[in-house]
Symmetry: C2
Subunit: 506 residues, 2 copies
């Protein structure tokens, strides 16, 4: 018998810790499996070993395993060598380049969701899929497996639509316009989206400036069925949780295998009860999809796979070579979106993109005639119906519906960058913009980000304001400033703006 020592640390898997001498006696190597049994049941865990943290005769039990087994400090349990999870064989099969069957993929996804794989094993799977790729049968099976192993939302209404961006372009706050436009036309659009992982602000981060976004599945269903739309954080619902665990392993090496992206998006949307899905695919320099040819292939895969899993998919290839609109960062983007809804002057690119996407969605479900969707969307925006609708959504999610764009608090520390010469804006570099905004504190610091007073193709005179950096914190503004000097975000008429010994401040 072993005495339980609770170790309150999440490992991402069921894991336990043995003293090396006990491990030797049991014939357990690090990362072998052990079976822990108490009178309440038993659990297979990944074994780690130590010669100091716990004593011989003790077993350290980490957070996930402790909760699963309901163990208490000092409790006595039995420990034996355990069997390896079945899916290890199938991961190895993928490594050797063989196609996986439906059952094999289900086995892997089940072990991923059930915390049965160690980091080393999960990473081997992610790397193998990245190199060997998955064919469309495998992707379909993976989508089904991810959906079945997680929470689902089922709506009593139909049709249910959504729009999803294949990320990469900063400032992409279109959904704060598109969702209320579509909902104001009587089409149910329960948008769920992720928080920013590597970008300055995800739709959820931006919406969170206006209202809470962590909603339960029940609440999403209720709001969508009564108000017509949500702007919720998908992470508040346990949909396709395998996907999140896989993404965690992809993150350190920025692996982003296309098969996994397809499976990830379609699984989340299928679990969310979506029947019609529009994919916004920003294409261009410095985003995930760089060429139109590539975008068309990727779009075709989405459409085809959507058909196989029962989602009607259309794709919009959008311009992605510079930020959408003028604002980047949660509060700056929320303010710009509200300004557009309030009818105040904003960048054309934002209005055009939001209304085009809304128009396609309306056409997809027959709420607008083919070719008329965009005009209806523009009218919905102009009439103030979209503003009224987002206020309903804000209220339903628990925010203050009386909010106006001029009440939005942006970063109190600001740095303005002026042009050193006459010319025109040749390029705004997405990568540089993203890094500078993150250095300024986005998305965690809601007020942090950048505002562009000039965009691609604009004339600029010497001394004119080109862009500003915002931060909630003076030190982070300094870091962002010095990064902007190292990787200038704006190229001016072939010259790089700001590559001068010192910047001018106003």
């Amino acid at each position: 018998m072993f005495k339980v020592r609770l170790i309150d640390m999440k490992q991402g898997a069921y894991e336990a810790l043995l003293h090396v001498e006990d491990a030797n006696e049991l014939g357990v190597h690090p990362l072998d499996r052990i079976k822990i049994s108490s009178d309440k049941g038993s659990l297979i865990c990944v074994a780690n070993t130590t010669d100091s943290m716990i004593k011989k005769g003790e077993i350290g039990v980490f957070t996930e395993a402790r909760h699963e087994m309901g163990l208490a400090e000092g409790e006595e349990v039995n420990v034996l060598l355990g069997e390896k999870p079945a899916s290890l064989k199938f991961i190895k099969k993928k490594i050797t380049g063989q196609k996986l069957s439906r059952d094999e993929i289900y086995s892997i996804i089940k072990d991923v969701v059930n915390n049965n794989l160690s980091d080393i094993e999960l990473s081997a799977y992610v790397t193998a899929v990245s190199i060997r790729e998955m064919d469309s049968d495998e992707i379909v099976n993976m989508i089904d497996a991810m959906v079945e192993n997680g929470e689902k939302i089922t709506f009593d209404k139909s049709p249910i639509v959504d729009v999803h961006s294949i990320g990469g372009v900063p400032g992409n706050k279109y959904a704060l316009l598109t969702i209320p436009i579509v909902a104001a036309n009587g089409v149910t659009i329960p948008k769920t989206s992720s928080r920013a992982i590597t970008s300055p602000s995800g739709i959820s981060d931006t919406m969170e400036v206006l209202a809470p976004v962590a909603l339960t599945a029940q609440k999403i269903k209720h709001i969508a069925e009564t108000v017509g739309g949500t702007l919720a954080w998908g992470g508040g619902v346990n949909m396709a949780p395998a996907d999140d665990k896989i993404i965690r392993a992809e993150y350190p090496l920025s692996l982003d295998p296309r098969g996994q992206v397809l499976a990830s998006v379609l699984a989340k949307k299928k679990a969310a009860g979506i029947q019609y899905l529009l994919i916004d695919m920003p294409t261009g320099r410095g985003v995930k999809v760089e060429t139109e040819d590539d975008a068309r292939r990727f779009a075709q895969d989405f459409v085809e796979l959507g058909r196989r899993v029962g989602i009607k998919v259309e794709c919009a290839i959008t311009y992605g070579s510079q930020p959408v609109g003028r604002a980047i960062g949660p509060a700056l983007e929320a303010r710009e979106a509200l300004m557009a809804l309030e009818g105040k002057p904003v960048s054309n690119s934002l209005i055009e993109k939001s209304c085009s996407l809304a128009g396609i969605l309306l056409e997809m479900v027959g709420a607008a005639e083919r070719g008329k969707g965009r005009a209806i969307a523009e009218e919905t925006l102009k009439s103030g119906k979209a503003l009224a609708k987002i206020k309903e959504i804000i209220q339903a999610q628990g925010g203050d519906p009386s909010v106006t764009s001029d009440q939005i608090k942006v970063g109190q520390f600001k740095f303005d960058v002026l042009s050193q010469e006459d010319g025109y804006v040749e390029k705004i570099d997405n990568y540089s913009v993203i890094q500078i905004c993150r250095m300024a504190g986005a998305p965690k610091d809601k007020g942090a980000g950048m505002l562009f007073h000039k965009k691609q193709g604009n004339q600029v005179k010497k001394g004119e304001l080109v862009y500003s950096i915002y931060a909630d914190n003076e030190k982070k503004l300094e870091w962002a400033k010095s990064l902007a000097q190292k990787i200038p975000p704006v190229s001016l008429g072939g010259m790089v703006l700001g590559r001068v010994p010192d910047y001018k401040t106003i």
Copy 2:
């Protein structure tokens, strides 16, 4: 400033633990890098997060990082977002299938040795190498990098020879004969070997029955230069430590990419100062190398790579389809080897293999004429010089040189399996033998293992003893017995021995 909380647990990398709120404020995601600074210096660590194990404002520091920085409980340190290790770029490059340069491989190996890679990152590398493979330039660079990043032994004598088995065949205790035979002929043979990972007994586990095997580099050098040979555990010396860390990541999926095996063996031997190396390559059913064609290709790679890193390599393709000798398990194998050295009757296969390998080694360095090596080896064995030499080695390593084979204590619990019919032994299954021995407690329980009274091709009469299982512990004997019923180790004249409702015991 953060307050240090020591967490006495080895992570295999420099790792630390932040409270999720602190991580958010710093912009740190799980597995991002943080830079911890104290007045004694700074260290880049892999960041983990918790919402309970430590408090906001505290930083948990795991064993490796704590030792590296010399931190004390409660000490104050500074924490910032840190840069990712350079080698992540090169791991990703390998994932995409590109060839790595010498500098890139050195960067990866350095980060592996210096605990800079998380499990997820290390596993991605191992998986990528397994799928993409390495060409011979890459393997040579990896060998050099592994040797340079570790301890080395340099001998004042020459030539220095060694023999290494590409594992897989159980009962392979040949080295306990081969090493003293070679040394008794005046050739220096400082053998280092590993402990069993998945087999019932490695050479080190077997030798440990007779003498301590955990020797320092200095001691190995001294014994080899005075006595002529060692039978030491390689893990007692920090040679090519990157290799051990890579093997740890390969273990859970039993990945064994050939390029890594070549690099691993040659790096360890180069670090150990070996100039002439004989590879024993057991070939056949149920071992690593299954066909002779495959063995020849693998052997050719060893010879060619050896040439490029300055080791003269020869390979012996040996019979691997059944165990070597009759005994499997540390004490049983040590006893069988001693019996052979004492001139007592043992299995011919053991004598033949040990003397053949010794003969080739003697010929390789000119201590025997081409074609005469084996006869000299047999004579050395028969004359008792090999027995005298192993006693010198046992004494030098700290064991009792007066030991005799009948003093070796084998498992006190024994189970004999009798034949149920007349016939002949058609097959002894290596896989089954290995599993049964391990279930009986080998290699940790020195007395555990199996002894075969009949081998392949032998006539067997009904009621005759075929094999025995030994254990130090009654329960483990029961487990091993029931496993032997599930996966019978011996096939008799086309019939499977022991697939009957109950065994007979004597």
